[in-house]
Symmetry: C2
Subunit: 153 residues, 2 copies
Amino acid sequence: MHKLARLGMFAIAATLGAASAAHAQFAKPEDAIRYRQSVMFLQAQHLGRIGAMVKGARPYDKDVAVANAQVLEQLARLPWQAFGAGTDQGGQTRALPAIWKDTAKFEGEQKKLMDNTSALLKAAQTGDLGALKQAFGPVAQTCKSCHDDFRKD
Amino acid sequence: MHKLARLGMFAIAATLGAASAAHAQFAKPEDAIRYRQSVMFLQAQHLGRIGAMVKGARPYDKDVAVANAQVLEQLARLPWQAFGAGTDQGGQTRALPAIWKDTAKFEGEQKKLMDNTSALLKAAQTGDLGALKQAFGPVAQTCKSCHDDFRKD
């Protein structure tokens, strides 16, 4: 399938999640909480692997960079569906009330992560470590700024 | 990017994980355990959404089926890298020793899941609920047979 079509499908999934019946997709709030935490744990692992190359802790390998960037691009679309109404409690969560109050800002962070991981994948595909470094920063920065505003310390 | 190229990238990621230095990708065995459990939780959620349509608990929606099948196809490639040597303990895990003893059989189950989720995606794309039902069974069955042999009750 064409890449844009694939992205479109994920956009549909993300929209379904964000806009309607998101919480209803999960049997209970606890599942939604575990879902988004699972995605974010995977994101941290895969971003860490690219980070290790960017920081020189591991040798640069284009294939490894692309494979991890690809997973990150897909994962970036997933967690938002799990922040539906009623999922601010029901399990151990560090989600702050701001998520459900400042929705526009939270959705802005979501879009930033999706855009920045797409850019990271493109950078990885060039095979240029400099380009990878440049695209890595904005992804890591988006994790941080979103956590600063929307996650308990 | 062409779909086969994308699949190729994931195949590379899977091979990297399965064949070499898999455990070394994780800072500690606990992370590997959490990684594979995170992936499998996501798999259960996304398969459950297709299952709900297959069983008639939710109205059939082609776009929802495709979006979830697409996530499942990608996720099917991920958990295996997290079963490296030394990850049989170090966290709460139900992984059985058979994983590291009967490697060929375990890898056979991995391949079955990857093949069956690819088939599920193709079936979802047809827009035919009958085709979706037919492709759903083998995926659910692979989860079960792998858990029967390789996961504690």
